[in-house]
Symmetry: C2
Subunit: 348 residues, 2 copies
């Protein structure tokens, strides 16, 4: 089969690799129908860090079940399935507490599972899925071509935006500010709107992203950053700042911007993969700021989010503004790296 | 009147000062019946930082209303009242959101109010209370001598422990670990028990405090600290750690101990006044750790907590293990400084 391999910074190729095999009774093989490129894929793509050796990549995909091991009971060949960006057993102590990303048997696409068998990256034709019952969620019927893009966002980006909103604790009638206008930030706007936020402020400087932010539910857009951005958010939101701030970038600057935008007693939901971010607790103490979030336990949210995607209540797939066939995967990375695309879908 | 004045590190004296006067229609004067010494009073007492000039001190007191300004309507002379450790109007945008410690008209005992009039410290005979309607909560009748000690904890220490539990989000049936065996940590145990936690682990090395921890609801006591302490908590709590950790010290070490003790997806409630505490967000991200808390908005909790104190459901006043008359205030400080007392009550 063909699969995407990252060789070195900005050297990414579609290559022939060995077809995956069923190793364990709990495995399934999925034929990928669509995959996408994540903002977090750009870190190794940009050499932060550079791969020590050529490595498989991609962790967002949907597809058709090709075959299943003897112990798999919830999906059967032919099912259209969504794969979260981690695999998990969905039965362990931590999965039962909703922290599927910390599953004692879980892991990440493209690296070995805990039994020592390689898994595949999501940006390829086939993927061996460990713990298929715990990982894959099948749709009730075969989706249309348009619906595939919507469903693909359930593998990561939409539940990640949702995780920011849930971790912060967004409630109906609340005010929300969103830091970051990438695909995750835009998804966080949609998630906050879906949870009933009454006023949403998007922080964005790019006209195309501002437009999508408003489509997803933003009432106001603030272009200023840092202290000025925080002051603008406070001016819009009753002079005090947002009840909930969703931090969807992961830099020290973006976290600081979230702090500036929060009202006293506010909560920051953080889902931007953090790089060199520290929090100064004495500065949070007097203002009673809380911070919660992390790596989204996508699997825990699928039962809740899937029906709203299937019936069109939300259209998170509108975040894709570039679709290329898998053999142009390098062009897809380049477009996201140069920010000419918000999010790239790869079709097979 | 006589009031406590901190002159220099470990030089604290009861002195004659001017009686307070009603300055504004919203003021009241309260004759203090009992006050106490807070762990946070020990910081300036120990010279961290040393007072630039002699300063009034104390922020936890209960007493009898002596006189009220023309605009005060909720308390009348003779009422027994609880004073939170801040004053506040209880009507502003931030008070209405439960963040009374950030009240736009609020402030701290012993320093000037926003109108420029001095307020008194709580460790004295009389206190001018700004925003009396928003600040003071009267009991339905005059309390007994024993009940005074219980009610006194509502000025700070018990609601501060409660704030740790509420900020973390303690729910019925959850597991809780408490870092810190001072009066706040012990109060946090009581608060977590009151909120229905099913298993509470106290972290303590002192036999007298361990005993009170168990009396307040701790099921287990862990004496180890740091990584070893975290490992011991995990071993007790299903091998994964606590759903909620209450950080009641405020040092980098205690926060790190809280991190070690939390399960993935756990929440840390922080109320220890923080000194040089930073959080490493990348270390929190993969484990989905959240941190919330700060300076307890005591006033927001009094309606909920007062009935349970009055009817004896909880006895937070058991935290007092030393009672001295106000003129021995220096002995009270010394006992807490040397940790021969957990918490000192001053009677008048």
């Amino acid at each position: 089969m063909r699969a995407t391999v990252l060789h070195a910074p900005r050297d990414i190729r579609l290559e022939d690799v060995a077809d995956p095999q069923l190793h364990l009774g709990t495995d399934a093989i999925v034929r990928v129908v669509a995959a996408c490129i994540c903002g977090s894929d750009l870190w190794p793509y940009r050499g932060q860090p550079a791969p020590a050796a050529p490595r498989r990549i991609g962790h967002e995909f949907v597809g058709l079940v090709e075959s299943v091991g003897a112990d798999v009971s919830t999906v059967t060949p032919g099912d259209f399935v969504i794969a979260p960006f981690t695999f998990q057993d969905n039965t362990c102590l931590l999965c039962r507490r909703g922290v599927h990303t910390s599953c004692v048997n879980g892991g990440f696409w493209g690296v070995d599972d805990k039994q020592g068998h390689q898994t595949d990256g999501g940006q390829g034709e086939l993927v061996r899925v460990p713990w298929a019952d715990g990982t894959l969620v099948a749709t009730p019927s075969q989706p249309s071509q348009e619906m595939v893009a919507q469903l693909l966002t359930l593998s990561d980006v939409f539940p990640t935006g949702h995780h920011a909103a849930v971790s912060a604790g967004v409630t109906a009638g609340s005010t929300v500010a969103v830091v970051g206008d990438g695909a995750v930030g835009l998804s966080a706007i949609l998630a906050a709107k879906r949870l009933g936020a009454s006023r949403i402020v998007a922080m964005s400087r790019h006209e195309d992203r501002q437009r999508l932010a408003r489509q997803f539910g933003a009432d106001e857009v603030v272009a200023e950053r840092g202290k000025e951005g925080g002051a603008a958010v406070r001016e819009i939101l009753d002079g005090i700042g947002a009840d909930f701030v969703l931090e969807c970038v992961g830099t020290g600057d973006s976290m600081q911007q979230a702090m500036y935008s929060s009202r006293p007693g506010g909560r920051i939901g953080y889902v931007g993969v953090p790089h060199d971010v520290t929090l100064n607790v004495p500065a949070m103490f007097g203002r009673n700021i809380g911070v919660a979030g992390g790596m989204a336990p996508v699997r825990s949210y699928l039962e809740e989010l899937l029906p709203d995607v299937l019936d069109g209540t939300v259209t998170p797939g509108d975040v894709f503004d570039l679709t290329v066939p898998l053999d142009q995967v390098a062009d897809g990375y380049r477009a996201m790296d140069e920010r000419t695309a918000i999010k790239t879908m790869l079709t097979l």
